[in-house]
């Protein structure tokens, strides 16, 4: 029994709204109001209203702590529009209660009129509660989603993906099923069935009072149906795309942020390398400018000194002196050098050629030139040398300094 007048309680709520709102917030966050927290809040506002809170049944004790009674909690929640989304399982329970009442009404349609009237009344209450819960859930999901989109709580992208995925899988899709009139086990489908029956009996039923109740139920269901359709549209047209976009965007951004951590170590997607650059094509200008643009952004290039892997060639003077002496007299010394090297090696390098020509300076060698200087051309790889014609005999003779290699 409540001793206090209703107006007294309402006035009390108004006067101490700040305390009650803070208690509401505490319970919303922590699930319960601890004894010491209650004391803190009350003393902070300098109004010891603990006894009234109990007396007006606003708070009820739970062990040593307190909680706001459901009726007040729902009232404040409603006033503040601060609903937490409910799991669709909680809403799904209406399917059972509505279906059960409907079954009993249909089976006992010709039974006791008072019971029928009570059941019709209860059914109307259940339908209204069901709709209110759906509406609250849709609105709170929408609000939470918008907050997530604006990222008010500054949560990171991975957490966003998780949250968006959870809302889609655990809230939106199941809620949509509940509202899907084409789904045989959905609440919406059950409401449609009730609506058909109400329509039938509102026009044709022997008890006038029941007929009026059926009519009331029928119009309530039309209204609820319209509202549910609107909620369903919000879910599918607004909420689902919004939350899907949050999820997609978060996935893409997570991918990009991961990539930006070290883009030089990650493989990039394959892009065709342009190969053919035709000078007469209409794209010549662009192709050329693309090539030149690359030089605008020159990168530093480092070369490592290559080690010469070729074996170092050592001139075997004794071997070639012997070979020269065996071939004496040699009519044209430089030609002989070239010929001898070609016999020994596939490729004649200029250094080998110069090494061999040093034999001409041997003191044991006699060199002979004609009265007039004569010149030959000798080709070693890509180099053409103009050399004097020198004949070699045994006796020693000096080379004329005017007959050098050019």
């Amino acid at each position: 029994m409540m001793k206090a007048e209703p107006k007294t309680i309402l006035r009390f709520l108004l006067e101490h709204y700040d305390v009650i709102a803070e208690l509401f917030e505490t319970q919303s966050n922590e699930g319960i109001i601890k004894f010491e927290v209650l004391n803190q809040i009350v003393s902070k506002h300098e109004s010891d209203i603990r006894s009234q809170l109990i007396e007006y049944k606003i708070l009820s004790p739970v062990n040593d702590n307190y909680e706001i009674r459901t009726v007040y909690f729902n009232l404040i929640e409603f006033i503040l529009s601060e609903f937490k989304p409910m799991l669709p399982e909680t809403i799904e329970k209406y399917h059972t209660s509505i279906a059960e009442l409907f079954r009993k009404i249909r089976e006992n349609i010709n039974g006791d009129k008072v019971t029928l009237s009570q059941r019709l009344n209860d059914l109307a209450i259940e339908v209204r509660s069901f709709y209110e819960m759906v509406e609250r859930n849709t609105q709170s999901l929408l609000q939470e989603t918008r907050e997530l989109k604006a990222n008010v709580k500054k949560i990171d992208y991975r957490e966003k993906i998780v949250r968006a995925s959870r809302w889609i899988d655990e809230y939106i899709i199941p809620l949509n099923k509940i509202l899907d009139i084409n789904h045989s086990t959905s609440v919406a489908n059950k409401l449609y069935e009730i609506s058909e029956l109400s329509n039938k009996y509102r026009l044709n039923f022997d008890d006038e009072n029941a007929r009026i109740q059926f009519e009331k139920l029928y119009f309530q269901l039309i209204q609820v149906n319209d509202n549910l359709l609107r909620q369903s549209k919000i879910l599918t047209n607004e909420l689902l795309p919004l939350i899907e976009r949050i999820r997609t965007e978060s996935i893409i951004l997570t991918g990009w942020i991961t990539y930006l951590k070290n883009p030089y170590k990650r493989k990039a997607p394959k892009l065709l390398k342009r190969k053919e650059v035709s000078v007469y094509s209409k794209d010549t200008f662009f192709n050329a400018s693309e090539i030149f643009e690359q030089f605008k952004n020159e990168t530093d290039v480092y070369f490592e000194e290559e080690e010469n892997e070729a074996e170092k060639w050592i001139f075997d003077k004794d071997h070639y002196t012997k070979k020269l002496k065996d071939n004496l007299p040699v009519d044209n010394f430089f030609s002989w050098c070239n010929k001898t090297l070609k016999e020994d090696y596939k490729k004649v390098e200029i250094e080998k050629f110069f090494a061999l020509t040093t034999l001409a300076f041997d003191e044991d060698i006699e060199r002979e030139y004609g009265a007039k200087p004569q010149f030959d051309k000798i080709k070693i790889n890509d180099l053409t040398l103009t050399v004097p014609k020198v004949t070699i005999n045994q006796q020693s003779q000096l080379i004329d300094p005017n007959h050098g290699i050019s």
């Binding site: 990009w256 990039a268 997607p269």
Partner: protein, 175 residues
């Protein structure tokens, strides 16, 4: 031997590494002759034709790796900065026009400035201007003025890559 309409244009464009877009008549021809063109590019150049509802392009083992990497960095940075600025980055990239001034603002004030400065194609305004021209030639963007451009549907090629990174990382973690 008969070839489909615009055959020469198709081969020239795709061989130039361009993305072919659904609003181009050549795209429709490729779509109508997908099988033939897949075979044609494979047999002639050992290239793989990829056709999606957003673009057609060819890919080979020999890839312009550096350009691809820089395009990824560019789109990644732009997406990040747009999001940081409270914009719907995906919607903006899909549907809006960008001015170079806006790009410059984002890049010069980015927290990724070290990465930007170390990248030859993105390091300063001139480099970025040239880079935008490169994107234009590849049909990844379309220039709508001297200093304005819009992204074409080819940008999805790179966005899909970002999604794949997350998928790959998740698979790695699960594995």
């Amino acid at each position: 031997m008969e070839f489909p309409n615009h055959h020469r244009q198709i081969v020239e464009d795709l061989m130039a590494g361009k993305f072919m877009l659904p609003n181009e008549r050549t795209y429709q021809t490729v779509k109508d002759n997908e099988q033939s063109y897949t075979y044609f590019f494979k047999a002639s150049f050992n290239y793989e034709l990829r056709l999606t509802q957003d673009y057609a392009y060819v890919v080979s083992e020999e890839s312009a790796e550096m350009l691809s990497r820089d395009i990824c960095i560019f789109i990644a940075l732009l997406s990040y900065e747009l999001d940081r600025d409270g914009k719907n980055f995906l919607e903006r990239i899909q549907f809006s026009e960008f001015e170079m001034e806006e790009i410059e603002n984002y890049f010069t004030n980015s927290s990724y400035i070290d990465l930007i400065l170390s990248n030859k194609q993105l390091k300063d305004a001139d480099a970025r201007k040239n880079f935008i021209n490169t994107l234009n030639r590849r049909n990844i963007i379309e220039k709508t003025g001297d200093n304005r451009f819009v992204f074409t549907s080819a940008h999805k090629f790179f966005v899909d890559f970002a999604t794949d990174i997350v998928k790959y990382e998740n698979t790695e973690k699960e594995g």
